[in-house]
């Protein structure tokens, strides 16, 4: 069984998920996540050697569409929903690094 989840793990995960947690939330979430993961100990212990994972319950493949242009949505309608827009684009605060 994996070692129990720690507050450091939870803080790391919050960072990955772009969430800020107060110290109080951090403690609370650590306990709650630990309880759910402890419940999952039953499947952790299960011998699943040779069992393939199921990502899709559906036995289908090759769902493909023809390469034909279809009208999209109106830019003004979309930008009207944006928190901030400028010059036909979505405006965001400054970006500190290149894309990973």
């Amino acid at each position: 069984m994996a070692t129990p989840i720690s507050t450091a793990d939870v803080a790391h995960v919050a960072r990955l998920a772009r969430l800020a947690l107060s110290d109080e939330e951090l403690d609370q979430f650590t306990g709650q996540l630990a309880a759910v993961l402890a419940h999952a100990a039953d499947i952790e212990a299960l011998d699943t050697a040779g069992v393939p994972p199921t990502a899709h319950a559906l036995p289908i493949h090759n769902v493909l569409r023809d390469d034909v242009v279809v009208a999209g949505v109106d830019r003004e309608e979309v930008l009207a929903q944006a928190p901030a827009a400028e010059s036909g684009r979505f405006r965001v605060p400054r970006i500190l690094g290149e894309a990973p």
Binding site: R18, N62, V63, D67, G72, F90, I95
Partner: protein, 474 residues
């Protein structure tokens, strides 16, 4: 240790946009240069509730690329690569991870060396950010503006094995790969427009060592030239570091074209945890044998095969410059037509790689039979090389009958007797030089040939003239 005692090890990751009409997962136009955010829909904007549906042509193009790179085309899955970035509408990229559509192939460089291809998989492109502020660059920008026209454009990422050994190797590899991609019809191969993007993994090791050194990934090289420069710079940096007793740390580095240096972008400690998992909104691709075979059968000959054919016709090496040029400029069909019409392959390649290549825009209207005639006239010395070039130039500009063009220029074939007379005349007029030549001093030949050329008003076949000179010597 000197530089020559180190070996560079380079593996390239090349992203190419596919020339489909629509994006990878929606019906928006895949078109470069449109007004921002005009080719967008709920799917490629990642709006809540939208779902992707895979473009059949994108899959076919990926199979073309895999086939051209001698990969195994196999059943594959999509995964989600999770990271936050504003140009990525869903904050995950749909890509292929451990089960790519194409695996284990190779690319032959013009000199015959093979570079392994680990995989060539399908993924979606991101949007584009414009940085607003004094610098116009990401650092120091006040804010940024995002355009999602490019978001969801289909890409194939070709991951090469670390089989390259120099910046030149890397350039040749990318050049060849680009030619292959263009030949498949899957890509336009435009590095400057960003439809072909190259990242390089570079490491160094003492020559002869079996283990690989620690590698750095170099990004942001926008041309073949900067690719070569960046790799050479990075290798030198690593060698210097190691020779000074330091260690190379695994990281991603950014190439700055202006300063000609690479700098740390992200260290391994910051390496993102992408949390890949199978994309539940898409189902597996299982291309049928028939589909794979039909795609393979429809592929045109690849540049390597074409160079081999040209090399055979010209009796040259496949990586000889004129051979490479003729294929690169798509002049090989003219060559094969001219050879079929009786022209000498070697001479035809030479004329194509020089005169025809330099007025390429006219090559399309060049009649292969007329071209063959010019080459034949030159081969049998009915025209001197200079005359042949002139006739060919006229032919490219206005078409017509080569014999008539030659006649109009007054390029009467010089009878061998007349040439022999001219040779004898030059010998008689330059006894000192002739004596030295006759005594074995070959460097005087140029002088004598020059005299013969002058004496014949440039109409002499100089090859023939030098044969005659040498004949008089014994």
């Amino acid at each position: 240790m000197s530089r020559s005692e180190w070996e560079m090890v380079i593996g390239l990751e090349v992203h190419t946009e596919l020339r489909t009409a629509t994006k990878l997962f929606c019906g928006c136009a895949n078109h470069f240069g449109d007004e921002p955010n005009t080719n967008v829909c709920p799917v490629c904007l990642g709006l809540p509730g939208s779902l992707p549906v895979l473009n059949r042509t994108a899959v076919e193009y990926a199979i073309r690329i895999g086939t051209a790179l001698h990969c195994t085309v196999q059943p594959s899955l999509f995964h989600r690569k999770n990271y936050f970035y504003p140009d990525m509408p869903k904050d995950y990229q749909i890509s292929q991870y451990d089960v790519p559509i194409n695996a284990d192939g190779w690319l032959a460089l013009p000199d015959g060396r093979r570079v392994g291809i680990e995989r060539a998989h399908i993924e979606e492109d991101t949007g584009k950010s414009t940085h607003v502020g004094e610098s116009g660059r990401i650092h120091g920008a006040d804010h940024s503006l995002v355009d999602y026209n490019r978001a969801g454009v289909p890409l194939v990422e070709i991951v090469g094995r670390p089989d390259l050994r120099s910046g030149d190797d890397a350039r040749i590899y990318v050049d060849e790969l680009r030619a292959i991609l263009v030949a498949t019809g899957a890509s336009d191969g435009k590095m400057e427009e960003g439809s072909l993007r190259v990242d390089a993994n570079v490491s160094v090791r003492p020559r002869g060592a079996a283990d690989l050194g620690t590698r750095c990934e170099i990004k942001n090289m926008n041309s073949l030239r900067s690719l070569g420069r960046a790799i050479e710079y990075e290798a030198t940096r690593q060698i210097t570091l190691l020779e000074e007793g330091g260690t190379v740390s695994q990281e991603t580095r950014h190439w700055d074209e202006g300063t000609g240096r690479t700098s740390t972008m992200r260290s391994k400690e910051d390496a993102y945890d992408y949390r890949y998992f199978p994309e539940p909104d898409l189902v597996p691709i299982v291309p049928s044998e028939e589909w794979i075979r039909a795609v393979a059968d429809a592929l045109p000959p690849m540049p390597g095969d074409r160079r081999s054919a040209v090399a055979a016709a010209a009796k040259l090496a496949p990586d000889a410059d004129p051979v490479v040029t003729v294929v690169r400029l798509d002049l090989d069909s003219l060559l094969h037509a001219a050879v079929a019409a009786g022209a000498d392959g070697g001479l035809a390649v030479k004329r194509l790689a020089n005169e025809v290549a330099s007025s390429l825009e006219r090559a399309a209207v060049l009649d292969p039979v007329a071209f063959a005639t010019v080459v034949q006239m030159e081969s049998r010395s009915a025209l001197t090389p200079a005359q042949a070039r002139t006739v060919l130039k006229d032919l490219l500009e206005g078409g017509g009958d080569p014999a008539a063009i030659a006649k109009a220029h007054g390029f009467e074939a010089m009878a061998s007797d007349a040439l022999a007379d001219a040779v004898d005349q030059v010998i008689a007029e330059n006894p000192g030089e002739w004596e030295r030549f006759a005594g074995g001093e070959d460097k005087v030949q140029g002088f004598l040939i020059g005299k013969i050329k002058a004496a014949t008003g440039g109409n002499a076949d100089l090859k023939e003239a030098s044969a005659l000179l040498r004949g008089r010597r014994s």
